[in-house]
């Protein structure tokens, strides 16, 4: 591959990397949301029992 081809590929890969990074960060956020829902459900059930 010539140098310019390498750079063009790098550009495309950067775009892909950023999008995938976003997906990874978002999945962290989703698991945090899941945890919160679980906590709040527990809180609500405790409330109802009391």
């Amino acid at each position: 591959m010539t140098t310019s081809e390498k750079y063009v590929t790098a550009a495309y890969l950067v775009v892909l990397a950023v999008v995938l990074l976003y997906v990874i960060l978002y999945s962290f956020k989703l698991s945090r949301l899941e945890r919160e829902v679980a906590e709040l459900t527990e809180l609500a059930q405790r409330r109802r029992a009391a």
């Binding site: 310019s4 550009a11 978002y26």
Partner: protein, 227 residues
């Protein structure tokens, strides 16, 4: 609720298809440029991303205007998400633009590239948007301040562009000659597919991000109600 979910899934699917199609076309099918050769293909990634970033800021400003108009709080989250996406696409524009500069002229940054300079100014402006949001308590005050600032942003775009053009008269850049893209029909088609792909990506990411932020807000309300 399931209708909204379906829309999100459809958007994501459409964006994925367009992205794969666009990138494949750009790398394999599009005709080789006579002047610049293979390196011209970065154009199919850089310019659609730049245009999408502008679309993000424009969308954010529109939602900001709706907020100030109707005072409905949902527009705050929508405007914020759009600006957030705009900054992400802005970073990508700067990075791909820098790579393009490296390919074309051998330097990682050049002030003579007007679009790039404009994006740098806008990037600084919208980063300050986040500083503003983080230093104000959440509520209608923060929503109003963010909305006004987002509107100033879109006013800044043409004014900055004019300023950068005027600045070239006394800031003597190293003059790089570059032939404007003489796009053949098939090149234009590939460009349009890539543009649609990037806009689709924005729409899809925007929808997901917005859902996530709304969920966050509702969970916080729930927590406050229960504790």
């Amino acid at each position: 609720m399931s209708l909204r979910n379906n829309r999100a899934v459809l958007l994501a699917a459409a964006a994925s298809v367009l992205l794969v199609a666009g990138l494949t076309l750009a790398l394999f099918w599009a005709p080789e440029d006579a002047d610049q050769g293979f390196s011209q293909r970065i154009f199919y990634v850089h310019v659609p991303i730049a245009l999408t970033a502008y679309a993000c800021f424009g969308w954010g400003a529109w939602k900001a205007l709706r907020l100030l108009w109707t005072r409905e709080s949902r527009y705050d989250l929508e405007s914020y998400t759009a600006v957030h996406m705009g900054v992400i696409f802005g970073i990508l524009t700067l990075v791909t633009g820098s790579i393009w500069a490296k390919i074309s002229w051998g330097v990682w940054w050049t002030w003579s590239e007007r679009q790039l300079t404009l994006f740098l100014v806008l990037f600084l402006f919208y980063c300050a948007y986040f500083m503003l949001r983080f230093s104000v308590e959440s509520g209608p005050r923060r929503a109003n301040l963010s909305a006004v600032y987002a509107l100033f942003g879109v006013a800044l775009i043409p004014v900055s562009f004019l300023a950068i053009r005027l600045a070239e008269n006394f800031i003597h850049p190293v003059v790089f000659t570059r032939d404007g893209p003489q796009m053949s029909g098939s090149m234009f088609f590939v460009f349009c597919v890539c543009l649609a792909a990037m806009l689709g990506l924005f729409a899809s990411l925007y929808t997901n991000e917005l859902t996530g932020k709304r969920l966050d807000a509702r969970l916080r309300e729930l927590r406050e109600a229960l504790e």
